[in-house]
Amino acid sequence: MIAALGLLVGVALGLFFRPDVPLGVEPYLPIAVVAALDAVFGGLRAYLDGIFDDKVFVVSFVSNVVIAAGIVYLGDRLGVGGQLSTGVIVVLGIRIFSNVAAIRRHLFHA
């Protein structure tokens, strides 16, 4: 309940404050959001499996975001930022798909 409320509050705050993204962070924000989404779906799946632990969730959330942004940052330093961010998005996308498939099996038996 609180989790769903938290999501709504975040969306509302984003719409309300309309913050400007700093220039240096701009390439990494989309990657970070996708990584966070992956962590969220992973957490939901774990919860439905009955093995959810909030400490694990927080750690996986933070590490997902940091590693995703870090990989892209490293790619930018190496001159392959575009390709690496594509690669990270693909991997995270696959994970999100498999997590959502597990959640679907839990909720709809299908």
């Binding site: 984003g14 993204v21 989404l37 909030d54 909720l107």
Partner: protein, 241 residues
Amino acid sequence: MSESESGRSRLARALRRPSRSQAVVGVLLALVGFAGVTQIRTNEEDSTYSGLREQDLIDVLNGLAGTTQRTQAEIDRLSQERQDLLSETTQREAALERTRREVDSLNVLAGLVAVTGPGVRVTIAETTGVVKVSSFLDVIQELRSVGAEAIQVNGQVRLVAQTSFEQGTGGIVVDGTLVEPPYVVDAIGDANVLAGAMVFSLGPARTIREEGGELTVEELASIDISTTREREGSEFAEPDP
């Protein structure tokens, strides 16, 4: 089956009963929502290239250069086409103009249109005798041979190539129309030349005078010849291709 049921019931219980771990998850989800919305909004608003990497900028630039080149080629092709079409139009207009001028002069010759221009008015009055057709015809031929472009008699009959003359009672029958003296012949052409053709020695003026008539020539800066003829298609002759 039982595990999926328990998954559902766990979700339902979580929705009903908040706990400490849910608060942590809520904070993180708020972060995700905030960042997601911010990113979406930035993405929609961002029309500048400030957030792009160097490689992306180079790609954009290359794409633009390619597009420019293609567009330039397209422009060249289209303007070439336009040039062609324009010159074609000009040629057509010139041909049309030529044909129109030809039609105009043919219409004048055929007597199909009313015409206006400088010329002479020849008045042949009968004083003591009767003017013969041959003398009258002489006047007409003389006018024609010095380049009269349009001729009418008494404002009644337009003279063309097929015009016929015969002697009638009390006048001359021109193309079936009786024309009575005094005959007024309007001719459009070079007024000086036309007038000269009437009055030279041994010319038509003298012949008319010998027959008891009186020929006077008036040079006019502008004569209106308003009589016209019906267009007659040729019945037997056909133009060779």
